[in-house]
Symmetry: C2
Subunit: 245 residues, 2 copies
């Protein structure tokens, strides 16, 4: 890893939204990571032709924005569709035949919160990342020449492994172009390298796997750790995520 090369922009990994305030967000490119399943679903919906995705922070706001935009409302709590919304958080719900040319209004437990925090703190650009759009994220970050924040959504503000794994995968691809002096980034990258050749088995050991497997979502989760299966780049512009990829 690069330690002190001042000519390269910095890269930091934020392990949970609770730690965001400790980092300099202003003018950074922020990658919102919520592997299970918000950012995997966002990449999928845009790859399959959704016009835009409006991320919102509450079910009430979701219903209201659904009415205003004529969009599809989506959101889950504890693995079930929230009453009043129409669809859930599963990428499998958004094939091209359904989502093309539609607006998706989505509320999620973890990812949306982090996105709004980054927005309020003056991020230069905000994109969302997960394994289904890994290479799109990597290519975007390489082209920016700006400080990078890899923002893990975690689970109810706690650290989770699957988001750190994705941060580690990104770091593996771009570390030569950044100054990295951040133990969270070192750890994430080492964790990813330790398990990258066995990801589909290893992922079954993490706490969120057990939580979502109880709802029968194993196939969803395996999709969410599949690289480049939905190569879109969700980027936040004027209140919505659109596909820049």
């Amino acid at each position: 890893m690069q330690i002190n090369d001042k000519s390269k922009p910095t890269l930091h990994t934020i392990l949970t939204p609770s730690l965001l305030e400790l980092y300099e967000i202003k003018d950074s490119v922020v990658v919102i990571i919520d592997v299970f399943r918000a950012t995997s679903t966002m990449a999928t919906a845009l790859y399959n032709g959704a016009t835009k995705i409006i991320p919102v922070d509450s079910a009430e706001h979701c219903i209201e924005m659904g009415k205003q935009t004529g969009g599809i409302t989506a959101g889950e709590r504890d693995g079930k569709i929230i009453p009043g919304l129409a669809y859930g958080n599963s990428p499998s719900e958004y094939p091209r035949s359904f989502i093309e040319n539609k607006t998706l209004v989505i509320t999620t437990t973890n990812g949306t919160k982090l996105l709004h925090m980054a927005l309020n703190q003056g991020a230069k650009e905000i994109v969302t990342g997960s394994f289904p759009n890994l290479t799109k994220v990597v290519e975007f970050l390489k082209a920016q020449n700006a400080p990078v924040i890899l923002g893990c959504s975690g689970w109810k503000n706690r650290f989770n492994i699957e988001d750190a794994l994705f941060a580690g995968a990104v770091i593996e691809e771009i570390k030569d172009q950044f100054t990295i002096h951040c133990d969270s980034s070192f750890m994430a990258n080492q964790l990813y390298n330790q398990h990258k050749d066995n990801l589909s088995e290893y992922i079954k050991t993490v706490t969120h796997w057990h939580r979502l497997a109880a709802y029968g979502l194993e196939d969803d989760m395996q999709y969410c750790i599949t690289k480049d299966i939905a190569p879109a780049l969700p980027i936040f512009k004027s209140g919505a995520l659109v596909n820049q990829g």
Copy 2:
């Protein structure tokens, strides 16, 4: 790791003090971890015969308590002894010939803060841990039959690797006796196992190593990752850490 064995007490790892509020601390045994160097120094001072250690949260409080108790005042900021205090945070400053039968009043950047947070939230017992007293901590936790919180002090509320490594070392020794459903604990244990056979080289890659090596503290840090070199058990009783080991 155990996932759902309700007959065993739980174990969680808290990666930085910023995350403490997310966990149930009340009635738990809390291990305060600040490998570089507060909890390594505390084990050393008590092992070498200090009567007690009073951890305080500010230099002003340290000076005041030093006067009240006749104790030795100690504390550093940015690698230097704080003006008005007498000694620093290095374990090498506290050999038996100096510290035996004396009271140490110490303020530290990270560890003391976490200790007071755990105290305020009603921890059942608070002990301090680092590699120099690893086995003492492990034996104590095995004997308690109570929920365990491994509390990493981190660095200025950010995650650091050396504290997670120690948490992982503790988990490696006690995981069969606890219910662990905590990604932070899984990660810490995997990180430790990945690097345990090469700890003295690996530790040179972490950010805090670079920060403290700039002050010439390499030997101090190698001491702080040496297992069982100061086998004391600092336990918090009536406002001070005493040796229960």
